[in-house]
């Protein structure tokens, strides 16, 4: 219908017709006999493809009237790259490699996305009409094998198969074959954790709806495991170190924290494993995100913290094979990421360096510490050397604050605490390797202390920043600094060092408890602990009409404004 008209004439902007007459149009018959009067905005093709606003539902505030906007094109960003194909179909000889030669079969292949009509304020209740017969296909591109896995599973469970969108799946798969290049992440996102969408960008998935829980579960969640398990190490050190015996700390906190950390790790790993199984494409996008990729080290670091924090009542000497098991994934990840720094064109360090890269370095030092604890000799030195070399590179790069480096936040942010992580763990690792806290261990310790102080005196600059799950990852450097201070106190015991250790331990415990309260509040009271993970839903190419989008965003959702903006945009 719309396809054939494209060549001939530009249809009028607004066309009114009954939704029942249009094929593939989402029509839901309500049992109460009230036939909603859908006002369909059959916007002309050019605008509809150009606008491609995902799942925008304009709700009229009157009862019993449902506005359904069903755009023949796919929502937002998925097919933006193909919009130019339609707009320039006359002169378009060389299209994208992804696009077929004949535009029209492609259009036919494009998925029709059905808006879900929402009845607002019917009898005061919010009735979300989410017909069970229609599966939500909007999240298919992020699912494993574009949703075919889910269909398989629902097949196995005996549920009837929904419409087999083979054609739609093919075109979507073409789009999502490749995750966006790293430039796109920097263009589309902003913020110190690169998690806020810029105003000119649009998300591939609907922004005003809550996505499935698994899709909202970021890899940052492993930060909680890091935070809690490092606390367990702190309390174990407080309990076992002779220099701190004046505090008379019992082994109970260590035990409790260790079990809590274990439970957390298991839970988070289980959920993330589910995400890997069901939403593998989302995992790929997280992996290509310049900040999130560093959090892929977090599970292994958390496991190593667990091994370091194991209470003496459970196990005293751990077997070396655990170390090999834990270091292998870190080694493989490192080969990939450091190799990209050295030789990768797009992901050169001068461009992607950000404080979260410290997470990829700290893994080396934690591994060295654990290995030395277990009595291994050469392996810890190996990882210490690799970590040290790359730490020097990263440290210099971040300190330079190169103009090519867009990822470094201009204002202070808790992510800066990661600067403290590497030297504090490195000093402990070196002390363990050498056997005593010699000068080569004291130098990184003092550096860590200096960085900690320079951030602590600026703590008032940290206020007013939106809480996010990643903050947990920033608590472990503080805890690490406290533990390093305790080890230093064991070597140099006097009043100053003792009070310093007590002070730092108190600060870190207080911070973690505050964060725990915040987390609980956000999880159960505010229920926004897991917001929509916009950073993985950016488009592969910059939307063509970004200015229009930002204009549209700033205008209110009132239908009048919408109409006026549509007419305004039609003149562009």
């Amino acid at each position: 219908m719309e396809q054939t008209e494209l060549q001939v004439e530009i249809p009028s902007v607004l066309k009114q017709t009954s939704c029942q007459n249009i094929k593939d149009f989402d029509y839901v018959d309500y049992g109460n006999g009230n036939n909603p009067n859908p006002l369909e905005n059959a916007i002309s093709d050019k605008e509809s493809y150009g606008e491609s606003i995902a799942g925008s539902k304009i709700t009229k505030l009157e009862l019993q009237e449902v506005v359904i906007i069903s755009l023949p094109a796919s929502p937002s960003g998925l097919h933006i790259g193909q919009t130019k194909l339609v707009l320039h179909s006359e002169k378009c000889e060389n299209t994208d490699q992804n696009d077929t030669k004949n535009p029209y079969p492609q259009l036919a292949k494009q998925k029709k996305f059905h808006s879900q009509p929402i009845l607002v304020r019917e009898n005061g209740d919010r009735k979300v009409v989410h017909s069970e017969a229609i599966r939500d296909h909007r999240f298919d591109p992020f699912k494993t094998w574009s949703g075919r896995l889910e269909r398989q599973i629902s097949n196995l469970r005996g549920k009837p198969t929904q419409e087999p969108d083979i054609e739609a799946g093919a075109s979507q798969r073409e789009e999502i074959e490749e995750a966006p290049g790293v430039d796109r992440y920097f263009d589309a996102l902003e913020g110190p954790e690169l998690d806020t969408l810029r105003a000119t960008e649009v998300s591939v998935l609907p922004e005003d709806e809550k996505w499935p829980f698994l899709l909202r579960f970021p890899v940052n969640a492993f930060g909680i495991c890091l935070g809690v398990s490092s606390q367990a190490i702190l309390w174990k050190t407080l309990n076992t170190s002779p220099a701190m015996s004046f505090l008379h700390i019992s082994p109970m906190p260590n035990l409790i924290l260790w079990w809590a950390a274990l439970a957390l790790i298991l839970f988070v790993s289980f959920v993330y494993l589910l995400k890997i199984v069901f939403y593998f494409e989302a995992i790929k996008r997280e992996y290509h995100h310049p900040v999130r990729v560093n959090f892929f080290f977090a599970p292994w670091i958390a496991c190593m913290f667990m091994a370091l924090a194991v209470p003496p009542s459970i196990a005293v000497n751990l077997r070396p094979f655990i170390w090999y098991i834990l270091m292998t994934p870190i080694f493989i990840l490192e080969l990939k990421i450091y190799g990209q720094w050295m030789s990768g064109g797009q992901r050169r360090l001068s461009k992607v360096a950000n404080p979260s890269n410290h997470l990829s370095i700290v893994g080396n030092f934690v591994g060295a510490l654990l290995g030395a604890n277990m009595g291994l000799k050469e392996g810890p030195i190996f990882f210490f050397a690799v970590g040290l070399a790359h730490y020097i590179v990263l440290f210099v790069t971040l300190y330079q604050r190169l103009p090519t480096n867009a990822a470094l936040p201009k204002e202070l942010h808790p992510v800066f605490f990661l600067f403290v992580a590497a030297p504090s763990v490195a000093c402990m690792a070196w002390a363990k390797i050498q056997g005593d806290f010699d000068y080569a261990a004291r130098i990184p310790y003092f550096i860590a202390l200096f960085l900690y102080m320079s951030l602590a005196v600026r703590v008032n600059f940290f206020t007013g920043i939106r809480f996010s799950l990643a903050w947990w990852a920033y608590t472990f450097p503080m805890t690490g600094a406290s533990i390093a201070t305790i080890k230093y106190t064991m070597a140099v015991t006097n009043v100053v060092t003792r009070s310093l250790s007590v002070c730092l331990s108190a600060i870190s415990t207080f911070t973690v408890s505050t964060l725990l309260v915040y987390t609980i509040v956000h999880a159960f009271v505010l229920r926004d602990l897991f917001p929509n993970d916009i950073s993985i839903a950016i488009t592969r190419k910059k939307p063509k009409f970004s200015k229009m989008l930002s204009h549209f965003r700033s205008s209110s959702a009132d239908s009048k404004d919408f109409d006026s903006s549509i007419s305004k945009n039609s003149e562009i």
Partner: protein, 389 residues
């Protein structure tokens, strides 16, 4: 002469303004011999061997001399008796002397050619000195001489002649150091951030090899001096190369084998510190492990080298020297840390380096035509100097 210049102009389609990128594209064509337009319009006879020859050919001598050093080290009695010496003892000693002689002859031949080129094609040499890749290879002959000196089967390390020769070979290295390192932070067009590329590590390797040989001969102070020079600049260079500034991305795809120099530098540092401190202590181990890691990192990225492997060129010789130095470091490591894994490591790396070198020699023998490029690598600079001077 003007006609020749014009022909070169046509040949290379270059605007005669010397920029780093222009010379890069030129080198792309030459090092591979794939600039087909050049080969069509300018036949090889127009350009003599001297013009086509450049300092990069010293990679061959680097590889052979380091091989000789490796064989000598493997045959040392301190090498663990269990692992390797049984194999090594089967190689008759005359094979080692043969290798040493071949290395010496190759080195002398290349030096001779380069000397003649200096006299007859001075413009090319000047252009080479100014090029960001070419200038680093001026260290290569001295490194080769030093390694050959250490590998020599005739002289004892603390012989008087040895020391004189060491001085003779190290002085040019220091002179070049002053020139090139000074340029890094003083000269506008040749700041380190602009010229840094993996071949810059050859300058560092030069200092470290000098330190290594000096320490072997008993001159600890000179050894420490050169070592500190080398290691400081290595630190700066390592960070710069890892950062990969946009300006430093001027290495043509055909020269990708030189990425293996990332492996060579820390291994050489490890060897040097080992000779200075007389034991393979933690610092040496850390440097050795770093180079092992970089080796694993490069070997797991075959796509990086795909383009350069399409056609044989002298750049392929860049694979051999770093592998040999890594094997040398592994040998020292295995000598100090006895055990199964160090010995296995030493064995694997030595075999790998020998195989690679032999393969390269076979390739060179078979494809002598390809080993010389088809046009002058620095011709655009010649034109520039012709027009501007």
């Amino acid at each position: 002469m003007a006609q020749n210049q014009r022909r070169f102009n046509v040949t290379n389609h270059q605007i005669p303004i010397p920029t780093l990128h222009q010379s890069t594209t030129n080198t792309t064509g030459t090092d591979t011999g794939t600039s087909t337009r050049a080969s069509k319009t300018a036949s090889s006879s127009d350009l003599s061997i001297l013009t086509r020859f450049h300092a990069g050919y010293f990679r061959i001598s680097l590889a052979l001399c380091s091989q000789a050093l490796l064989w000598k080290t493997l045959a040392e009695p301190t090498t663990d008796a269990r692992a390797l010496s049984s194999i090594v003892r089967t190689i008759p000693s005359f094979a080692f002397i043969l290798l040493w002689s071949i290395a010496l002859l190759t080195l002398l031949l290349l030096c001779l050619l380069y000397l003649v080129r200096c006299f007859l094609r001075f413009r090319s040499v000047r252009a080479e000195l100014a090029h960001h890749v070419g200038m680093n290879y001026l260290f290569a002959p001295w490194i080769s001489f030093l390694m050959l000196l250490q590998a020599t089967p005739f002289l004892q390390p603390d012989n008087r002649l040895c020391r004189i020769l060491w001085c003779a070979f190290s002085v040019p290295i220091v002179v070049l150091d002053v020139k090139i390192y000074g340029q890094w932070f003083t000269q506008g067009k040749r700041f380190l951030s602009m010229v840094a590329n993996p071949t810059s590590q050859i300058t560092v390797i030069g200092n470290l090899v000098g330190a290594h040989v000096a320490a072997q001969m008993g001159w600890k102070e000179s050894a420490v001096c050169m070592f500190s020079l080398g290691i400081t600049h290595y630190l700066v260079l390592f960070v710069t190369l890892y950062q990969r500034f946009l300006g430093s991305d001027s290495l043509p795809a055909m020269l990708r084998p030189v990425f293996f120099l990332f492996i060579a530098a820390p291994s050489t540092a490890s060897l040097a510190w080992d000779s200075i401190s007389s034991s393979f202590d933690t610092g040496c181990k850390m440097l050795f492990f770093l180079s092992l890691f970089l080796f694993a990192s490069l070997v797991s990225r075959p796509a990086l080298f795909k383009r350069s492997m399409r056609r044989f060129s002298v750049a392929w010789w860049a694979y051999s020297f770093p592998l040999t130095i890594l094997a040398l470091a592994a040998t020292e490591y295995a000598q100090d840390v006895k055990g199964v894994i160090p010995n296995v490591l030493m064995l694997v790396l030595s075999v790998l380096s020998v195989v690679v070198t032999l393969a390269l020699m076979v390739f060179t023998a078979l494809k002598t035509n390809d080993i010389l490029p088809h046009d002058d690598p620095f011709v655009c600079y010649n034109i520039a100097r012709g027009t501007t001077t």
